[in-house]
């Protein structure tokens, strides 16, 4: 039996399991002790508890000093006060000291209005900063995905936790000391020259404006204002499950129809869906899986198995950096975003008679790595990118507000044809396990020639870090693995490297939860319930679709018939597949 202890917080009797921190005990009792550095996503075993900010100090009877509630464990009979004048004065001084080395350019800060530090300063009614001494002077950096302004860093170390413990990327570490202390890549090289995968999980947890996205809103407004440009948009599946949160709708509210209406109101010539390209991805990736499997079953020992999904650009960056010896294992299929761009700027552009140079393809993504992916050289024709640029869910929300669109009262509208048509399989791409489930629906029918009666593969859903399942394809037992979060991915990849992997196919998404928890999504503020609600929204949208298998999408069939030929065919290979690059480190003797 779990041991419980009882204590008093603000004269309220509280019972908690032994080992609970004062902060958690108080929050459980509805007493919200303010905090800055603390972060705890229990469902995903992600925690950042450095006790470095000291905002959460409380008074404990019998102790001389105030104690940080986040790192003090409850003890039997403790008497804790969170509301005393002494506590409030200490909090104010702590915050004033944090602010003593913080720029006060809130008016033009990208985080303004969504900043934990700003909120805290307002809450504690800070009206002046009495301590003003030496100031940090770090150089700002712009990468294709992420902006770094470390003068705004408050050393909460959340980004470091995400980058090292959760993602095992190891691009960011605490370096130097005193006023030159900062969180930076090794040798303080630019992030762009480090192992950074642009997954954006550091941005997703940064409480201040130190790490933000490379915002393309103004670029988009210029294009939308240009009468010579045809501007079209594609929206990733996970966006519709989270966008509503920015408009005070409950997490998991599916806002697909309103989102389409808003994009149309913003002036896009066509509103298309990345889900269409997700169906296309399944056709290519699923065919590649079946091709590798049939060669393997025919006795070919050279075939690279397991096959790994390649939809996630941060994951692609990760294996290019850390597993360059295994570049032949991932599927060569491009991500849905890039497939969409390649088809839009060839097949569709020809259909409507627009020249490539006059067509601007914009994507709305839950992701920051997608911004980098747009800019990869291999996804451009004569310098013109297939997808011109990508905006995050947060950027879209900001733009809708800026345009004075009353989002919540918008009528539901439908995507445009043909690239707005998708099946339920395309929708679930946004949640961990979704790509694999979509692939299984198609692979099963193509492989066995039988109709799949129950399209739901429950075993691949959910927030568990690594999921596994076995699916019978006739008498062949297909073993699949699913990982989300790059740390979990690394574990599966190391098994493969050691020759111990039991899987035939593996799905990997870089962000915890999959794209629903992407670095470009509305901030979850440490609440994993939001991620669950978003996933649920996607699965119920899938449930509501009449067509739930990618190969049943009539426009995909039309695309192959009119233009591409067959999956893995020459044209498909040219437009829908890619190759990977060795970005690893080689230490050589001289």
């Amino acid at each position: 039996m779990e041991q419980t202890i009882s204590l008093q917080i603000d004269r309220r009797q509280v019972e908690v399991p032994r080992g609970t921190s004062l902060l958690d005990a108080a929050r459980g009792a509805g007493i919200h002790i303010p905090s800055l550095c603390y972060m705890n996503l229990r469902d995903m075993c992600i925690s950042n508890l450095p006790a470095s900010c000291r905002i959460c100090v409380v008074e404990i009877e019998g102790r001389r000093n105030l104690a940080p509630a986040c790192s003090t464990r409850c003890e039997q009979g403790m008497k804790v006060t969170t509301t005393s004048a002494r506590v409030m004065n200490a909090q104010k001084t702590v915050l004033e000291l944090i602010l003593s080395d913080h720029p006060t350019d809130c008016l033009v800060c990208p985080k303004s209005g969504n900043c934990d530090l700003q909120e805290m300063a307002a809450r504690l009614k800070i009206r002046e900063i009495p301590f003003r001494g030496e100031q940090s002077s770090h150089v700002r950096e712009t990468t294709p995905s992420i902006l770094r302004d470390m003068n705004k860093c408050i050393y909460c170390r959340r980004c470091e936790t995400m980058c090292n413990k959760v993602q095992t990327v190891g691009a960011l570490a605490a370096v130097n000391r005193g006023f030159s202390a900062t969180i930076a890549p090794a040798f303080e090289r630019p992030l762009a020259d480090s192992e950074c995968t642009y997954c954006g999980q550091c941005v997703a947890v940064c409480p201040v404006g130190a790490l933000t996205e490379n915002d393309h809103t103004n670029r988009l407004l210029e294009d939308l204002a240009n009468p010579n440009k045809t501007v079209i948009v594609q929206t990733a599946p996970a966006v519709r499950a989270a966008l509503g949160e920015e408009f005070a709708l409950p997490p998991g509210a599916s806002v697909t129809g309103k989102m389409v209406a808003a994009l149309r109101a913003l002036g896009f010539n066509k509103v298309f869906d990345t889900d269409f390209a997700a169906d296309l991805t399944i056709m290519e990736e699923g065919s590649e899986l079946l091709d590798r499997l049939s060669r393997f079953l025919a006795g070919d020992k050279t075939v690279a198995l397991p096959i790994l999904t390649s939809c996630c650009p941060a994951w692609v960056n990760f294996f290019e950096h850390y597993f360059p010896d295994m570049l032949d294992i991932p599927s060569s299929a491009r991500s849905p975003q890039q497939m969409f761009g390649a088809i839009a700027k060839t097949w569709w552009a020809r259909q409507i008679g627009v020249e490539r140079k006059d067509l601007v393809v914009v994507s709305i993504m839950p992701c920051l790595a997608k911004k980098y992916e747009c800019a990869r050289d291999e996804f451009a024709v004569d310098g013109d990118p297939d997808v011109n640029y990508s905006l995050s869910t947060r950027e879209l929300a900001g733009l809708i507000k800026r345009a004075n669109i009353d989002f919540n009262t918008l009528p539901d509208e439908d995507f445009d044809h043909p690239m707005g048509e998708s099946t339920g399989a395309g929708v679930i791409f946004g949640a961990s396990g979704g790509v694999m489930e979509a692939a299984l629906r198609t692979a099963y029918e193509l492989y066995t020639g039988k109709k799949l009666e129950d399209v739901n593969f429950e075993s691949v859903r959910g927030l568990q870090g690594i999921k596994k399942a076995t699916v019978a394809l006739n008498d062949f037992q297909l073993k699949i693995g699913i990982a989300h979060g790059l740390g979990n991915a690394r574990a599966l990849l190391e098994e493969i490297r050691e020759g111990k992997s039991e899987y035939h196919a593996i799905e990997i998404m870089a962000c915890p939860g999959g794209c629903i928890g992407g670095g470009g999504q509305p901030l979850h503020h440490g609440n994993s319930e939001r991620l669950k609600a978003r996933a649920k929204a996607l699965y119920s949208e899938d449930q509501g679709k009449t067509r739930r298998k990618s190969h049943d999408n009539p426009y995909i069939a039309q695309l192959y018939e009119e233009f591409l030929g067959k999956p893995l065919g020459e044209k498909a290979h040219h437009l829908l597949h890619t190759s990977y690059f060795d970005k690893g480190k080689d230490i050589r003797e001289q």
């Binding site: 890549p185 060795d582 480190k585 080689d586 003797e589 001289q590």
Partner: protein
């Protein structure tokens, strides 16, 4: 791909030091100590090799190297001079002694003379407060250092001008 090249003997020495500590990430500080003892300093390539051996990100190695003032990424002079700036030495004039070293050697704190003979650092308390102000040259301790002593210390460690090396 990024290629890092180092002399074979350097890589071998580092691999051995790491192996001696069972390639344990928890031994990082001890490994860096030994590596600096062997090589004199810890340049980027050396940190890359240590990170590879311990299977940790090089950013973490760099974080430790830049946190502790003992570790250095620039080579020290043949005769590393350290002036104690601890409280006792400070009140007995360590700052003027340090300034005199700076002036005579034409280098700042953390600098190395162009001929590689001397480097200058300040440190906090060597536990010989009775001898304040204290200067260390390598492992040799000079106590109650006065301004005229500075030139003598430098001369004592300077090689004859005729020495070609």
């Amino acid at each position: 791909m990024t290629t890092i090249t180092l002399p074979k003997c350097t890589i071998d020495a580092l691999v051995q030091i790491c192996a001696k500590h069972h390639n344990q990430p928890g031994e990082l500080i001890n490994i860096l100590h030994e590596a600096q003892g062997t090589l004199g300093y810890l340049p980027r390539e050396v940190q890359e090799v240590i990170a590879r051996q311990l299977r940790i990100p090089v950013s973490r190695v760099y974080g430790v190297v830049t946190f502790y003032s003992f570790f250095t990424m620039t080579p020290k002079g043949r005769h590393p001079i350290s002036v104690c700036m601890g409280t006792a030495c400070y009140v007995r004039g360590a700052e003027t002694v340090l300034d005199e070293f700076k002036r005579r050697l034409s280098i700042g704190v953390g600098g190395v003379t162009p001929d590689g003979q001397f480097s200058l650092d300040s440190l906090r308390c060597v536990g010989a407060c009775g001898l304040a102000p204290v200067v260390l040259v390598g492992e040799k301790v000079y106590g109650r250092v006065t301004l005229p002593d500075v030139e003598k210390i430098i001369t004592e460690h300077s090689r004859p001008a005729s020495d070609p090396s």
